[in-house]
Each structure stands twice: as C-alpha cells, then as structure tokens.
Amino acid sequence: MSSNLSANRFVRRPVLSLLLMIAFVLSACDTTQLNNPYDPATSGLSILYSSFSERPKHLDPAIAYSANEYTFIGQIYEPPLQYHYLKRPYQLMPLTATALPKVSYLDAQDKPLPTNSEDYKIAFTEYLLEIKPGIRYQPHPALAKNAAGEFLYHHLTSAQLAGVGVLGDFDKTGSRELTADDYVYQIKRLASPEVQSPIAELMKHYIVGFEDFYRQAASLSLEQIKAAPMTGVTLLDRYRYKITIKGKYPQFIFWLAMPFFAPMPWEADVFYHQPGLKEHNITLDWYPIGTGPYTLQENNPNLRMVMVKNPNFHFEAYPSEGEPDDAGQGLLSDAGKPLPFIDKVVFTLEKETIPYWNKFLQGYYDASGIASDSFDQAIQFSGADEVGLTASMQEKGIRLQKAVTTSVFYVGFNMLDATVGRGEKARKLRQAIAIALDYEEFISIFMNGRGIPAQGVLPPGIFGFIEGKPGINPYVYDWRNGHPERKAISEARQLMKAAGYPGGVDPKTGQALILYFDTTSVSIDDRPRMNWFRKQFAKLGIKLVIRGTDYNRFQQKMRAGNAQIFMWGWNADYPDPENFFFLLYGPNAKVAFGGENAGNYQNPRFDRLFRQMRGMTNSDRRLEIIQQLQQIVRHDAPWVFGLYPEDFLLFHSWYKNLTPNLMANNRLKYARIDNQERMQKRRQWNRPVLWPLAFGFLLLLILIMPAVIAYRRRSRFTVQRLQKQDGAESVRIRK
C-alpha cells in the first residue's frame, strides 16, 4: 500500500508542478501571441524591426566604410550633402548645408579662373560650404555642462565612473549647435594616424595640406590637432568653411555626402579619451554623437542595436517631387511632412537565414531579402520570365521590390601574365573565354535569376550606361530580335585558333591548354560554381585548374601579380563612371602601384581618355568619351564582364515609402509603418496552436501507462510468489 502511494506521489507531483509552471508562464505572457519575440507593451508603437547578421566593426564616421556600418551611422551622422530620396538618376542635394557647395577654380598662383577654364590651367578647386544655423546635436554626456558652463564629464572622477557600464549610465546630457568648425575638425581627424581612416591615403592626393597634416598629426594630441591648421581646410566663420583640393576632381562633391565628412564635436573626442571608459567599450567607435534623425539608444552588438528619434532633430520634410511613377506608388503621400516617421528602430542580431525568414513571415520583421533556400517559396517565374510573388506571399500582402545594384562582378585576367595578358594572341584568347563564359546560365543556376549579364564596366544607374543595341558588347553579343544574344561557341573556337590554340591545344605541349583560376571560394557550397567554370573553359578545350586559397594568400598573390585568372567585384562609392573606370586606370595597377586595378591593365589611350573624362561634368561630350572607354575595354577584354547583381527585397504591406535608393545611407527617416495594420496581421498570423500540446501529453500518458501497469503487475506477482513460497515453507515446517 505504501509503495503504491509513493509511486502515485512520484507520478503526480512533477505533473502538477509542470502544469503549474505552464499556467504561470502562460499567465505572464500575451497568450494571443506566444511567439512574439518583442515586449507586448510595445506592440502599439511605431517601431521598425530589422536585423543585422554581422556586428559592425566601427561606428566612427572617420573609420566606418562598409554597408553594415552605414546602416547605423547613416541615420546618426549628417554630412553636408545627401542624395535625393526619389529622383533618378541620383542627385545630390543639401542636408545640413544651405545649398550645394560653391565651386571655384584657381590657377597655380591662387588666382581665380572662370568656370569653363581648361583642366590643365586649374591648379586648385575650392568648395565653399555654408551650414544651416540652428541644427543641434543629440543629447550626449560629452556636451553636458553645469550652471557655470563647465563640462560635467570632461574630467571624470572615480566617483563619476563608479557604476558606469554603458553610456546611458551618465545622468546628465547636453547639446549644442552644429558649427562649421565641427566639419573642419572631422577632416583633421581623417588625417590623424591615431584614427586610422581608410580614406586617409586617398585624401592625401586631393586635399591640399592633408599629407603635411598627416605627418604632423602623428606627434600631436587630439587637442593640438584641433588647434593645428590644415592648409586646404579653412574655417571662415561659425557657419562657413572651405575645402581646397589639388587640381580638378569633380567627384569630390560625392565624398561630401559620405559619413567621412560628417561633423564631429571636439568635445566627443575629449570625453571618450578619458581613462576608464574604454574598459567598458565606451568609445566614439561604439557610441556615436550626431545631429541626424536617430540616436543610438542601446548598443549591444552581441544582441541588439536600438535607435530612437533624436529629440533635437532639425526640421526636414519628406520630398514632394520624385519620378513620374512615384505618386501612383504612394511614394508622395507623405510629401511635406516632417521626418522621421518612425519612433524607434530595433536591429536584432540574426545570424541564420532560416529563423530570420520565418520571423519575417510571422510579421516580426518588416522586410527581408530572399535567401536561396527560401527563393522558391517566395518567387515564381511566369512564362515570359517575368518575376512575381507566389500565391502564399500575395495572400499575406507581401510586396516585392527589385533593384539592379550599382556593382559589377567580373572575371579578371592578370595582364602581366604571359599566356593571358600580353600580346594580340592573348587578347584573342581572352575574347574567346568571354564568349564561352555563359553568364546567362550562371545567373539562372546560381543566382535564381537575380542579376543581369554585364555588357561593360558600368552598371545601370551610372551615367554612361546605355541600354539596347548601342550598349552591348559587340565582341561577345549580337543584337537579335531586340535582345542581346551571346555569340555561338564556334566563334569562340575560331578565336582560339587565331590565338594559337586550335581546339584548345597548347602547341608547346601538344596537350590541352592549362589555365589557372585563383579563388577564395573553397567551401563545399562553392564546388558547383567552380565546376561550372571548369565546364565553361572545357567548351574551348581548355583545362582549368582551380587554385583555392584563403583570403590572405589570395590578396598576397594579387599584390605580387601571381594570379592568372580571378574573380573580383566592385560596389560603387558614388554614382559616377570615374568610380568604375579607375579600376582599369594604369597608374592604379595593383602590382606596380598598389592600387585597385587588380588586373594591372595598361592602355595609354584608355588612361588619357580616363583623365579627360574624370575632370568633366556630365555632358554629351563626357558620354561620348565614356563610350570610347567602354569600347577600348570591350576590345582589350582585360575583364570578362560578369554580371550586375539584382537585389530582391520583400516587405510587408504596412511598410510604407520604400523605394530602392542604392546611394543614400540615411533612408530610414523616410520610412513609415502602419502600425494598426501590423498589429492586426500579427495577431491573425500568430494565434498559438495548443491542441498538439494536449495531444502530446495524452500520448505520453498512453506510452507510460503500459509501463506503470507492467511494473505494478510485476510487483504484485513478486509479492504473490513470495507469499506462496512463505505459505509452502510454513506447511513444510508444520509437517
């Protein structure tokens, strides 16, 4: 009897505890959405939910240079210029500046020149910038002052540091007006070896006095850097400053729309350089201070980054002009309304694509890219290769946005290589390979159709890109039935013959020509891609040897000029053809000069035309030169122009004002969320399904019951047997 009781207790107590625990957990949750990863109390707020897969390395605008860093600092720091959100082609417009900079030219004696002066006469170009008055910084402890006007946290004591773990632990914050001096100070920071700006080396070639300042700054403290003059950067008054660059470089204006040229208050550097802060990761690299629409409220790159509206943000209205289609797409509905619309932006660390995708489908992320394993679930192709959403996506009201990126991926040839680089025969060999590499197939197999085969150096959206017949690469394509059509492989084989490799046979060896392809794509996932390349070269009878290597060794080979064929890509810094053609400019050759011309291509005519084009503003003449440059490169074929990738973005119907703008880093201020719709759909999509729990519990009981019954029967059987044995023994004793 007692054993039965204890067995019952053994079974009942955990069950009871489990039920109580479930009841407790359920009572503490919003049971209508048990899978809600966010605080239910925030459901009604205008919050944009996004993610990041890799933690940003730097948030200092002088150092940050990658897209995942610009996602954050683009919303916080404000350079003087920005790109118009809706107008295409991309147009620069003032952000904190009152107008676009006033550009003037000077000769070698610093005498002004007329705007139409010839390039060789221009020794210097001046950019005069004027900042809008009244713009204020976000509240920040570095700017906090006491009643006497002294900075509260510029001489931190151990008492002030006690209990400080994050920037928000400082009680007081302050603000001040943005001045032109902050822009001047930031340019000096770019030249500081301590800051290590990635564009410092580049700017030495352009900004007057930058190199001297760079040398000088190595031995200066930050305070001295502020006081030290840089010849080419002059503070004119509280709101005006002037940048002088060497010669004529019209593309410099695009740099003024990048965070490198955003303002930095000197107080921030003084504050962050105090001992005791770096130990808690409280540095300028992690806690930005800007005038933009958002401030970084929570900075935990291991978990979540949260940005909230900057209470001091100056007035800026949503654009009232755009492209002809924009009004029809609802992109002008908010015209003239003050920005930003969203109160808070939450970026959550999400490393894997599957959970991210599922949370997007549940409505917990507002937008998503499409990973290859979700592609078929989201996208379908109609008969005419038209891309559309699947029925399940349409049912949810999800929308698709496509945009060809301002990037190019190409297969490059090392022009220093004896086989593929030098001479007319090598050129024919490259031409043959260009025809054989069927990038239409590559895009279809490996990119789910997300890309367009490249016809030249420039991607769509960049001045100089031409669509249709005049824009095709005549050495690889023919124009047929209104479309470019890749030349037949027989033409490539003819070229192989002309190159001295009939049937792909190397006359020196009598064997198939062997070429070497250097790549960092060495994982198992990359194997099909590499096999594809082998197959393409095999069409010409060439044996392709894949030399897989890690990133460092690959870079080393490229620097030493030891690679033969390689794959490379470039993403535009700014929407100007110069930012692409410079990748083929002779003085940028990687081996000789350590530049970005990875294939070490040299062509004096190309270089001359490039220099001419670089100094011009967009015009018919410039377009003509660009086409000449394209033709030279198509003829010489130092690259097999691979593809221009296409971005597919899915977003929910409650996400408003979303349009592809590949140049603007500050897009979040234009976005709006229809929160009512989101709440209603989330509730509808996320009702918990509880019956399988009960079913599972029942199944467990059914599984356990035979065990319990068997155990009890065995116990009873043992007792009965013992009782029988006892009885038999007592009979024997009595006898």
Binding site: P37, A200, K351, P692, A710, Y711
Partner: protein, 325 residues
C-alpha cells in the same frame, strides 16, 4: 586537500604557458600581422602605409618571440608574444584587434551561454537518469528494447535537424515560442525554452544509453540483492542505492563540463540568435582577431583545468574511500 589544490594550480601554470605558446605559434604560422591588418582595414584603398600604421598602433610591428635588436630583458619583453599574452595570466584580456574590450565582451556574453547551457545540463541529466533507470527497471522486457531502439534513433539524428525541426514545429507551425532571439532578465525565459528542450531531447539518446550501462553494471551487485531482500521496492532500490553508487562515473562526465558551460554552443547560439560565447571564438577566427582567439583559448584551457580539479574534489564528496593527497 589544500596542498593538493595548490599543487594542481602550480602544475597548471606551465600547462597554460604551453597552450599560450602553441596558440600563438599556430595563429602566426597561418597569419602574418600584415594579413591581420588587411582583414581589419577592409578591401578598399588599403595602402602599405595604412597597414604599417595599423600594426604600429596595436603593437604588431614588433618581432614575434625574440627581439634581437633590443637589449637585456627587452629581447623578451619587446615582442608580440610578451605584450599580448602575459596579461592573460591575471585575466587581463586586453583590447580586441577591432578595438573592443575583450573582458567586457566575455562578461556580457557568458551569461546568455550559461542561461541556456545550465538548464540544458540539469534537465538533461535528470531526463537521462530517469530514462536510464526506467530502462533498467523494465530490463529484459519489450519496454527496454523499445527504449534502447528509441535512444539509438535519437542519437543518430543530427543536432541541426533537432534545431531546424524544433524551430519549424514549435516556433513556426504551433507558434508557441519565438523562433529565435534573446532578452535579458525574466524575459529571456520565452527564448530559452525551445533551445533547452531541444538540447535535452538531442542529448537523451546517448546520455540515457550511457547511464543505462552504468546502472546495469550496478544492479547485479550484491548490495542491490541485499536491498531487495530487505523488502525494498525496485524503485527504491534503483533511486536510493543504484543511483548513489553509480554517481562517480556520472560526476566524471558532469563536473568536468561545468566550467565549460560558460563557453556556450556554437550551432545552438547561432540558430537561436543567443548572444553567447559560442560564436565569439569562431567569429574571431573568421575575422583573424588574434586578441580574441588567444583570450578564448586561454579561458577554455583554464576552465578545463578547473573542471578536472573540481571532478577530483567531487570524488571525495560522493565516495568516502577516495582521498586526495
């Protein structure tokens, strides 16, 4: 006991130094400071000057292990090894090559790892022991055979399948918990329920089979027969006597992993977006951040040594016959 602990501590010092040197050599055989600089500086506009500046600022412009140009002790102290590795012995992990304080990152990231790993260990242990004892209770019956087959099936399935399957079924289809994510304090509970459940389930196959073997060995011993002869029920025999006597091998497996719970699980943390230490080392290797790699390898070694010491001490607690000397 104190002498024993002290001796073990002193043994650990050369061991840790060896681990440090080995990590250092392995890392720098594969990567030069130039490689590290280029990785940190990105791909655009990286010049030799920028690489030299980066190395100089972070002390990677010094010789690796021996500075022939320096004088006296400077030959050792003015090297990358000395500058970067000696501080580890007093747990000064320094600043990562990307500029973050490693100690602060470790302190922040170890708690989420622990929040998942500790309940997984405790619940997993309970579940494994109960399942093993039940199999022993019903030994030589169809229930035991069924249990063993189930265990083999469970242990044959990849942990990735449990994770993706769990996320799909519990998070996506039944919508009972968030698919992934993490939060601080009590809000973390809803995020760790699923990873813990998956951790327990995925470990039950191998765990229960291992413990079953231990219990079966014990259950045939004389003291068990004596306990049965006293009239104890089978449940009492198993839970009071067999379990207690099988504790030593269980402890060996459990106590040694206790300190390593802080280190987290790479796949689990990655799929559930738990900001633990699991992915910290892997990310650092990916970005060639030597400062983090050496810190984490050192920490792992220290914790492993601590785990072994704890195991030895725990023997004395469960088995009075064991004496440390």
């Amino acid at each position: 006991m104190i002498h024993y602990i002290l001796r073990r501590f002193l043994y650990a010092l050369p061991l840790l130094l060896g681990v440090n040197i080995l990590t250092f050599m392995l890392f720098f055989v594969l990567n030069s400071p130039d490689d590290m600089a280029r990785m940190q500086l990105g791909q655009k506009h990286v010049t030799e000057q920028a690489v030299d500046n980066w190395k100089h600022q972070r002390g990677y412009d010094l010789p690796l292990l021996w500075n022939a140009k320096a004088t006296a002790t400077g030959k050792i102290t003015r090297t990358i090894f000395y500058r970067k590795s000696v501080g580890l012995f007093w747990f000064d992990f320094g600043i990562s090559d990307s500029g973050r304080n490693i100690g602060s990152d470790i302190r922040q990231r170890m708690w989420p790892s622990l929040a998942v790993a500790l309940p997984t260990l405790i619940l997993g242990l309970l579940a494994n022991i109960c399942a093993a004892l039940l199999m022993v209770l019903f030994r030589n019956s169809y229930l035991e055979v069924g249990g063993v087959v189930l265990c083999v099936i469970l242990m044959s399935i990849s942990s990735l399948f449990y994770i993706i399957g769990g996320q799909f079924l519990i998070g996506k289809e039944l919508r009972l918990v968030p698919i992934s994510g993490y939060d601080t304090g009590l809000d973390a509970i809803k995020f760790i329920v699923l990873p813990v459940a998956i951790g327990v389930l995925s470990g039950i196959g191998s765990g229960a089979r291992w413990y079953r073997t231990l219990f079966l060995e014990e259950v045939e011993k004389d003291y068990v027969r004596t306990a049965r002869a006293k009239g104890l029920t089978e449940v009492q025999v198993l839970f009071r006597h067999v379990l207690k006597n099988a504790m030593i091998p269980i402890l060996t497996g459990v106590v040694v992993v206790l300190p390593l719970l802080f280190m987290g699980s790479l796949i689990m943390e990655s799929f559930f977006s738990i900001p633990g230490l699991g992915s910290y080392t892997i990310d650092a290797i990916g970005s060639q951040d030597f400062a983090i790699v050496r810190a984490m390898v050192f920490l792992g070694s220290v914790l492993y040594i601590a785990g072994l010491l704890l195991t030895d001490i725990s023997y004395t607690l469960v088995d009075p016959r064991v004496r440390l000397s």
